[in-house]
Symmetry: C2
Subunit: 223 residues, 2 copies
DNA sequence: TAAATAGTGTCTATCAGACAATATCGT
DNA sequence: ACGATATTGTCTGATAGACACTATTTA
């Protein structure tokens, strides 16, 4: 086995979205060894001449493999060691991000990498230590939502509190069986006057019922 | 300027302790360029053949430079980029830890690196981006204490709740002027029956007053 | 007016801070 | 008993969940 003097450095990204039923994560199928054919978090090897920092590496991975630009990336932590990649001592920094699912569909054709959305809690076997990485990103996202950070990056530009509540419920559901139901009243009180949300004046949801106030993310919102 | 193909990888550690008056951080004075003579967080360059992972690098830094073994290291996050080290593109992972001050004194003489304890909120100018790293570690520690994680690694083996309260107050004090005083009753209720603490039976603090119950960290305690 | 959903009001359990009251030691 | 600190009790305000009630739309 070849031993390199310097280790592999990469950035991996857990990109989350919401399907009809559950929290989803985007995975790519590895086209080359090691772990050829296995599904993995999208990622890229650091190119020092190209990337100003590791977040730029992560953004390049999403851009070049999937044609995706995300509004923000949250760094979670570094995974490192001699054993995690069979090729060499390696270090990978995990990032995670949120994006409405259709925004990925829209731009994806540009590169012919095979990618797919999986249930974030049951993605099957993953390459390297990506199952552990995904687990950590999942937990971090859920903690955020539990501690009342609204996942606005998963919403369309304008949305109702009901829609936001439904998204939060899907995020918090860890298996298809248990139905998480947040309280409507508490949810409304929590977010209706939150500085993260701005009511869009004169813009109400239509339908055969009382129309709901629409909101958008405020300019000061940081997830 | 020389451009290497592979970047520098290192681990830096913010090691905190408590003095008579304030939260302190251990810094070492750089003996070589860049930033020769400036104070910096102790750290080490990754040696892939020696370190099983980056936490091992951090532990090696503490051990070889200061003769210190810490009970645990908390990884905070990675700092990376082309500009943060004048030599090259670099990546450093920040860890932080707690240790009673005298435990460092005891073993320090083994290597003749110059090190010193500084007020964690006013350490003066630091090398590289270590001021930012220290700021982040400080904030993380304070958030932990505010959210009721007892900083037991700063305590002696046995301690009273009063001693623990005093340590928490010192940690939370961000400048020498404001006097932080936690409520005695609330503090007692919070920790007296915490699963993190175990009352040491038949062991009471002595003195010309009602003796206080002594506690130790429970075996399940993880900071 | 019925159906459906939006938004509000109210009750209650919990929790934490403030602070008073009581307990237990050495002297 | 006194001084000093430990421990417990009580009050109060903030908060969130549970759940019922009112409001507003279309059909």
């Amino acid at each position: 086995m070849i031993k390199h003097l310097y280790p592999l450095i990469s950035a991996d990204v857990a990109l989350f979205s919401i399907s009809d039923t559950s929290l989803q994560v985007l995975l790519v199928q590895r086209a080359t060894p090691p772990h050829k054919g296995l599904w993995a978090l999208p990622g890229a090897i650091l190119k020092p001449d190209e990337d100003v920092d590791l977040e730029a590496t992560a953004r390049r991975a999403l851009r070049s493999k999937l044609g995706v630009e995300v509004p923000y990336l949250k760094q979670e932590r570094a995974f490192s060691g001699a054993e995690r990649d069979p090729r060499d001592w390696s270090l990978s920094v995990l990032y995670w991000a949120l994006l409405p699912r259709h925004q990925v569909h829209a731009v994806a054709g540009s590169r012919v990498k095979k990618f797919e959305w999986f249930n974030a809690d049951a993605p099957g076997a993953l390459a390297f230590d990506h199952a552990e990485q995904l687990g950590l990103a999942r937990s971090a996202l859920r903690e955020r939502v539990k501690s009342h950070s609204p996942p606005l990056h998963l919403m369309e530009e304008k949305f109702t509190l009901r829609q936001l509540k439904t998204v939060c419920e899907k995020i918090l559901r860890t298996n298809p069986d248990d139905e998480i139901v947040l309280d409507k009243g508490a949810f409304h009180r929590r977010f209706a006057k939150s500085p993260d949300l701005v009511a869009v004046l004169g813009d109400k949801e239509e339908g055969p019922r009382r129309p709901a106030q629409r909101y958008r993310a405020s300019s000061t919102f940081r997830f």
